[in-house]
């Protein structure tokens, strides 16, 4: 037999029973070519450019999905950060750009489009400042547009002026969108990758080619089943052997991801090229497709209990090693995602009282993102939100890794309340934040200098 029946069955089982899917195929598009700063021209340029390059994205993804039998859950588009595209344009142009993004996303049939972004890790230009202040307008007037702000990097430190602004912006978005849902489309990052395929932080960085396909794999369900099977069948189990099991599975997932990405590229044709596979284990609210459940399968009663951070290290490291062997084009976040509301196991852990925001912050020193999809009471002052952001960015800056904050201050909610955002965004449980004042620290402004680890030359 060309393939062993076990190999064929394993592939089939991974797809049919264990939720192996491609979480996202994201088309990055260079937008730095707008011929004028006139708002009407900008609006039509953005719309036409996205439609021109992206109109076949969904069709191509569908064909590839049928060919390999692996579902591609999301098709998305990431653009050059709009602050660069719009720099120098009148304020009116910012709103029109957001509307053009929304219309184009609708026209090509995708659910999210990212790139309403600014890079302000050292300081903000006039355009960056306008863009950040326009985020509440842009997100409340659209359903598909995602915004992100890179406010810190290891090389530059943390731009605390922008962190202070973003605290206010997040609170305003929460007030102006139903159930604060707009905050799920807004993220503040440190060390934002230029080729990340996952919204809301996706963008098409300035070092990227004209148009590129980046693939985000999924697979917590597959890894979980592999661990469970290994525990059932092997008599001698230690953590090294479990890491090896995860590594092997990560290899297979990544290979499938790259194959599918390259096939989509072949169908889209030039100028689209293949970019990277993002190895992140991205959970979905589906039962069993959960990073928290993997941590529990490693012998921790609930995600968030003592030992969770160590288990997360084992998991993330094994995923990276398996993935790196499988593909030479690894990029994006590439770690484990722990978005609280999108992971049914995390939601259960919060409900059970095992997972607090402080423990989650500790876990983000290992995982690939940060405080992701975390709901907090809506009456928190903006300075406290900024302080939470600053803490998270500090972890990224000091450890030379990406961290991000996607926090949702739900108006009139108390700790323990639940808010359902539906679909992939899942169910939020409002977490308690220690009610002490950090506002003086935030109001000082300025920039926290780059850490010693930045001096690498």
């Amino acid at each position: 037999m060309l393939y062993k029946p076990e190999e064929v069955k394993e592939t089939l089982r991974m797809v049919a029973a264990e939720h192996l899917d491609i979480r996202t195929v994201t088309l990055g598009i260079n937008m730095l070519g707008c011929p004028s700063k006139d708002p009407a021209t900008i609006e039509s340029y953005i719309f036409e450019r996205i439609v021109e390059l992206g109109r076949n994205l969904c069709v191509a993804a569908k064909e590839v999905e049928e060919m390999f039998g692996v579902p591609i859950v999301n098709k998305r588009v990431a653009l050059t950060p709009m602050s660069l595209v719009l720099e120098g344009a009148p304020e009116e142009a910012y709103m029109r750009a957001a509307i053009a993004m929304e219309r184009a996303a609708e026209a090509i049939g995708i659910d999210f489009i990212a790139g309403y972004s600014a890079l302000v890790h050292k300081g903000a230009t006039r355009g960056d400042a306008i863009l950040m202040r326009s985020i509440p307008d842009a997100l409340s007037a659209t359903q598909r547009v995602c915004a992100s702000v890179n406010a810190a990097s290891t090389r530059t430190g943390i731009n605390m002026e922008s962190v202070a602004v973003m605290g206010e912006v997040i609170c305003e978005v929460a007030r102006r969108t139903p159930k604060a849902s707009g905050c799920a489309r807004l993220v503040v990052l440190a060390n934002a990758p230029e080729d990340n395929p996952f919204v809301a932080g996706a963008m098409h960085g300035v070092g990227e080619p004209e148009a590129v396909i980046n693939v985000g794999v999924s697979g917590p369900g597959v890894v979980l089943s592999a661990i469970e099977r290994f525990k059932r069948t092997e008599s001698h189990i230690d953590l090294g052997a479990l890491a090896e099991t995860i590594k092997r599975m990560a290899y297979k997932i990544t290979r499938a991801g790259e194959l599918i990405g390259r096939e989509v590229v072949a169908r889209l044709g030039p100028p689209v090229v293949f970019g990277v596979v993002d190895l992140s284990l991205a959970p979905t609210p589906a039962k069993g497709d959960s990073v928290a459940n993997i941590i529990e399968a490693l012998g921790i009663e609930r995600a968030g209990a003592p030992g969770t951070t160590a288990a997360l290290l084992l998991l993330t490291d094994a995923v990276k090693k398996g993935g790196l062997m499988a593909s030479s084009s690894v990029g994006g976040f590439s770690g484990a995602f722990i978005p609280v509301s999108e992971d049914s196991g995390m939601v259960d852990a919060v409900r059970a009282g095992a997972l607090t925001i402080e423990k989650l912050e500790a876990m983000t020193s290992i995982c690939s993102v940060g405080l992701d999809m975390v709901a907090v009471p809506g009456d928190l002052p903006p300075e406290t939100i900024s302080a939470i952001i600053a803490d998270e960015l500090a972890i990224g800056v000091a450890n030379n890794k990406t961290t991000a904050v996607r926090i949702i201050p739900v108006p009139e909610a108390k700790p323990g309340d639940t808010v359902n955002l539906g679909g992939l965004l899942g169910e939020l449980i409002v977490m308690e934040v220690k009610n002490f004042d950090s506002s003086r620290f935030i109001r000082y402004g300025g920039r926290i200098p780059a850490p010693l680890t930045a001096m690498r030359n």
Binding site: M1, A16, E66, M67, G69, V70, R255, A256
Partner: protein, 217 residues
Amino acid sequence: MVLLWENLMGKKVITEDEVESLSREGILTLRRGMVLTPSAREFASRKGIRIVYGGGSVPSAEDIPRDPTTGNKGVDVRKIVEEVTREVIGKAGTTEQVGSESGASPVFSEDKNIASVLEQAISEEPPRAVVVSTGVNRPGIAAALTSAISECGADIQDISQTIVSDFFSMIFVVNLKTMKEGYTFKSFKEKVEAAGRSVGAETVVFHEAILKAMHRV
């Protein structure tokens, strides 16, 4: 050094610059006594020029490592290899069942030497589909699936089947290169899956590439 010189004596060395002028319609035919430099080979593959070995010589004679003890007598060793290979493949060819890996028709004739057939087999690996079917065993399932496959003109290269109590599981590896005109992967998949369903067998068709990617390093 002497060895190297003797090997090159009387041979025409084709360099990168000459590849394009010597090739016709994207095919570069190498005759006996011609040597391709490594950079020329790379250039040809970059330009999509296919290298065909004509004139009855062995393809990659230059690539076969020489036995240091026999020195330039290496030619004899190569001759032996050539003859043995020819014999083995020739025999297999008569059974009409040459290794499923080759895919191409394994009929040999004087003007189509082993080299060019092998070369073609490697460069043009056929697209293949994997058909997996499971269900409660009953007569006619294999017949329904195989006739659907053959109606498309696809060629079954490998079959594996097991029955555990009343359940069967069947896996086919199918070469799609021979498919009749008008059939695509998509229509093949739809037809075979429907044929499976019509006899109560859960059937899934997917492209071989995904298996290869996941299970072969």
